[in-house]
């Protein structure tokens, strides 16, 4: 069953949130924007409970709005899961039959809406959790047997949670969820079992004989039998190696041979290898065990937290191919641009915290044309996925500007990268598309453009997408024709002046120091050194002067960008 939507209120750090899901959904966002809480919320709704006394929620799952808040005063946790047919007739008859008392119709599509509500009841001095199935109007369906129907849902859509801390030593134990299911189902047949156990017993004897000291210990221990009742024939046995096949199977180990040739148990390998091994094991489990342990119509929900942890970028890319082919509906939380690079644009959800609330942004299916989507894929998602993690984009015309703003920020001790500001050149993608895309994903932006006619056009197209934002904060046209002229006017013209011949200099008609003069100086520049290289020499000069050397306009823009980034925090 496809989980189309989840609504969460008052759960951990989340006050209110609604999230649409795809067959693969990738959650991105800074720490503390609720990614893990979303995965945990789904898990809380669908995990099997092992005893009646086990609670779905722990005390600190209740949202605490203020420092002094107590879980007992919290508003009720409410989590609503919407399972929908993706198209008419998608669910096999058996699914509908199993859920016959709670199934709903939305047009021609069938759906199930499950809500859990948990709050502290002062009358009973306890946390009470209620489960309800709802109709499509959001009213509780009375007379529906929730525990039975919930069991069916757990059968049809079990949730598997793989957290960021993947310790292979844990996952490859015989009692673990995935490995255990393989080990336990091994059936070697009674005859072979008998043969093996006989051989093992002989082997044990041989070893015991070979080590005399073991025999002595056995005799000493045998004396215990005189103090407590033990079997009189063979009171003590020492198993050098396990004597039962069951014991052997439960110690099954996966050994990976490293490049250097050492055979190491998996728990002894590096974190990255362990992590990858667990994902592969998970995949093997989903491929071969789900139908056996659940039903043939089961589609698990896979909640994966930071699957990229400890992996090399190229390993991330191949791991994420594996992840996308996992059997089930995937919900991933990630901080990896490389992982983002390998999932469709529409599967991204960018979470951000705004004034105590968490906002969820996603690209609307029809917001971008195919061509636009291709451009974004090519220039951002596939190559610069990290940009999606930024709080604010500083949109700049070219390389010179990028170098200048980054370096000036450094001189001002305002490192842009650390503060979530990414410089993005817009001339190849087009400023209009970048702003549109940033708006879709809720990334703040600020556009800087030349003062010439082309630059004015850039500013105008950004202006059309302000959507109520302040023009002053978001649109910053250079006070001069281009960046070079601007730098000259800011007092760094010498670098350019020194780079042209006297002959050319003589031709300049304008009075020295006027914008017209500098424009001509700039136009007369030879190709080498390149514009950015010249900019670097200017930065050297600025650095020598220190913070005071940074042109006002530049420091203004940087301050505004920081303000935007801070705002979006």
């Amino acid at each position: 069953m496809f989980l189309e939507k989840i609504e969460i209120s008052n759960f951990r750090g989340i006050r209110e949130l609604s999230l649409n899901l795809n067959s693969t959904t990738v959650l991105i966002g800074e720490n503390n924007t609720g990614k893990t809480s979303i995965l945990e919320a789904i898990k809380a709704c669908l995990k099997p409970l092992h005893s009646r006394s086990e609670r779905e929620f722990s005390d600190y799952d209740y949202h605490l709005p203020e420092k002094s808040s107590q879980p007992t005063d919290s508003k009720a946790i409410e989590i609503t899961l919407h399972f929908f047919e993706r198209e008419e007739n998608e669910w096999p008859a058996e699914t509908t039959q199993r859920l016959s008392k709670v199934v709903q119709l939305d047009g021609q599509r069938q759906c199930i809406i499950l809500r859990v509500r948990s709050e502290y009841r002062h009358s009973g001095n306890n946390f009470a959790t209620e489960w309800h199935f709802l109709n499509t109007d959001g009213n509780t369906l009375p007379g529906s047997d929730t525990s039975r129907a919930r069991n069916e849902i757990r059968q049809l859509a079990p949730v598997f949670y793989l957290s960021a801390l993947r310790d292979a030593a844990q996952e490859f134990r015989s009692n673990s969820r995935f490995w255990g299911s393989f080990v336990r189902s091994m059936d070697i047949g009674p005859e072979l079992k008998q043969d093996l156990e006989t051989a093992l017993a002989e082997l044990n004897l041989k070893v015991l004989d070979a080590y005399e000291s073991l025999g002595q210990i056995k005799n000493e221990l045998g004396k215990t039998g005189k103090m407590i009742p033990l079997d009189s024939n063979e009171p003590v046995d020492i198993d050098v190696i396990p004597s039962r096949t069951f014991d052997i199977l439960s110690r099954t180990q996966v050994i990976l041979t490293s490049v250097a040739g050492a055979r190491l148990p998996i728990g002894r390998h590096g974190d990255g290898t362990q992590s990858l091994a667990v994902i592969c094991l998970f995949n093997a489990f989903l491929q071969s065990k789900v139908e056996e342990r659940y039903t043939k119509h089961t589609k698990p929900i896979l909640a994966l937290e930071e699957p990229e942890a400890h992996l090399h970028p190229s390993a991330i890319r191949s791991a994420s191919d594996l992840l996308q082919n996992l059997n089930g509906q995937k919900i991933l939380a990630t901080h990896s641009g490389d992982l983002v690079a390998s999932v469709p644009l529409l599967s991204l959800r960018r979470l951000s915290r705004k004034a105590g609330n968490i906002a969820v942004h996603q690209v609307d299916a029809d917001a971008l044309t195919g061509d636009e989507r291709r451009k974004i894929d090519h220039h951002i998602r596939l190559t610069r996925g990290n940009l999606l993690f930024a709080r604010c984009w500083l949109l700049l015309e070219g390389e010179t500007e990028v170098v200048l703003f980054k370096e000036c920020a450094r001189i001002l001790e305002r490192d842009l990268g650390h503060r979530g500001i990414a410089c993005v050149e817009y001339t190849t993608i087009g400023i209009e598309l970048l702003v549109k895309f940033a708006n879709q994903l809720g990334i703040e932006w600020m556009a800087v453009a030349d003062g010439d006619s082309q630059g004015t056009k850039y500013i105008q197209s950004a202006e059309q997408q302000l959507e109520g934002r302040s023009a002053d904060l978001h649109l910053c046209p250079l006070p001069h024709q281009d960046i070079e002229t601007f730098l000259c006017m800011a007092g760094y013209g010498a670098v350019y002046e020194s780079n042209i011949s006297d002959q050319k200099k003589e031709k300049i008609g304008d009075e020295w120091g006027t914008p017209g003069y500098w424009k001509q100086v700039v136009n007369a520049q030879s190709k080498r050194p390149s514009k950015p290289a010249k900019a670097l020499s200017i930065i050297e000069e600025i650095e020598n002067t220190g913070k005071a050397g940074v042109p006002c306009f530049v420091s203004d823009v940087i301050e505004k960008a920081l303000q935007l980034a801070g705002q979006s925090q």
């Binding site: 058996e94 709670v102 199934v103 109709n135 499509t136 009213n139 509780t140 009375p142 007379g143 047997d145």
Partner: protein, 647 residues
Amino acid sequence: MVDLSTLNCNQRKAVQWNEGPLLVLAGPGSGKTSVLVYRIARLVEESEGKHFRILALAFTNRAAAEMRSRINALAPQARERAVLTTFHSFSVQLLRQHGHHIGLRPDFTILSQQEDREYVLDESIQLARQEYPEVAYRGELLPLVTRLLDLCIAGEEAVGFLRKRRMKGAEEIGKVYRIYRELMKQRNELDFGGILTEALDLFRKVPGLKRLVTGIYPFICVDEFQDTNWAQYRILCHLVDPDTKNLFVVADGDQTIYQWNGADPERLDSLRSCFDMSVLQLPENYRCPRAVIEIANNLIQHNSSRSSNQPILKSRKQQRRDSDIRVCSFPDFKDESLWIASDIADRFDNPDCDFAVLARTRQLLEKVHAALEAKEIPSYLAMRKDEFATSRMIWLHSMLRLANSRQDHKYLRRICRSWSDLEGASLDAKDIAFEAASEEGDCLRAWQRAALREADVTNETRRFLLESVSKLADSLDFETFVNDSFAWFDELPDFRTETPETSSEYPEYLEEKKTWKELQGEIFGELSHEAVTLNALLQGLDLRAKTPTPQDNAVPCFTVHASKGLEFGHVYLVGLVNGHFPDWRAIREGTSSDQMEEERRSCFVAITRAQKTLTLTYSNKVFGWTKQPSVFLKEIGSCPECETERI
């Protein structure tokens, strides 16, 4: 494996029927319910591991409950897989789950009391008068509204329908009907007719519903199909998958006796042609003595509309030695009643004797019942009882209803009234409602506070009010509340006489408590215990009669209609005179009229209730009027074992 060895060849054929439509035409006492029960148990057993359900629709909740327990005994897995219910209960479940598509919330209330329907009708009339000042009064309109509902006329089609029938005031009546239905939905209420009509509306307006329902219930079974009315038949048509047509119907055309309720002898024919039914006959009768079968066959063949290929009953019962049928005549109905009472009294102490007195009308039964009482023979009249009658039970039922619908003042009024009977405290419903208005209209909590404010409340009552009522208000835990209430009721002294036993309603309360527990158990059985929420319980109660279960050996005095589907050792069919049985209206219409044929079928049903003996009685005078022996007495023919006694 379900053991089929006790069945005869035809029964086994029916039980082993798998897919496709089948009509089992079965006479009285032919084991048709067994056939249904065995087939369902077999289907469940043979499809273990599957999740589809089998839906079986019975005519009454009691019949459904009985079939449920028989199936569960044969195949325990059927608890989950077989749904035994009535058209009304099933429609209520559908409306609960999907009714929001037509504007009903899942917690709607079922109006089982006439006065509640009248209230809604009055309001509809008020609204209609804004446009049509001439609108008639409630008394004339209520039967019309009921009729339109039974015919499943949509609100917007009513005017056209009435005009076509040249009804006077079609516009006004149509308008009232339309408003009535709208108002019911707005108030989140439904009356009995509305349940079926709105369910049909749901199928019409939610096209995906049919696919959903047929997917869940690929097998549909109907018991006593001959008495299905128009609305039920139309719902049935929606439930059957048009491709597989897995419809299994048990019926007896000769037992169609609910024509006044919308049953129609021709409906069997339309069923056969509509679903292309295969037909299996079960003419073997295992219930009645041979002589009874003979006269039953003689009688029913006088129905000319009965198709000639319809088989007559074949007796399979071992012959009894003494005479099985007696026909007795009396000078006056008084003598008839007295003789019956003393005849039953003579035979009453026989260990394996069960009796029933049947008559066409209730009027006659009341006399016989009185005569039996005079002889100190326990007996009872079948009574329709829609509501509990003792103050204790009215209070309990109204408390639960108010808990479910906190602002409903009519329940608050009933609580105040019954409370004053129980505790002597007169609480004013208007004041409480006013107080409640300040806190989202929660009348239950407001009532609780008002009751606690009364000075002379005993400690037990105070504790009960504080703890149990709070629990109900907080968490709708109706089961605890019901049990707490019974415990409190049991100890509750009559405030006038000080002891519970002397309170006048105490014996009736014990009876009603028993009925409550039985009905609650039945509802738990229908929906599975965990699935019964307060609202589902209330809806289930509203769908069921509150008639008490009679004492074990009490002699039932039943109308023929109430005896449908039952059997008794010794049957007394009384008042067999023209004008009573057959009814005078049927006589007026003539001997081969539809009405007369239905009367004849009723008589056929009555005499085939007998397992051992049948006693037919008539008198020359009934209630002072001279009467002729029933035409049916002639039609059953002379029969050597029939001895006419004159007493």
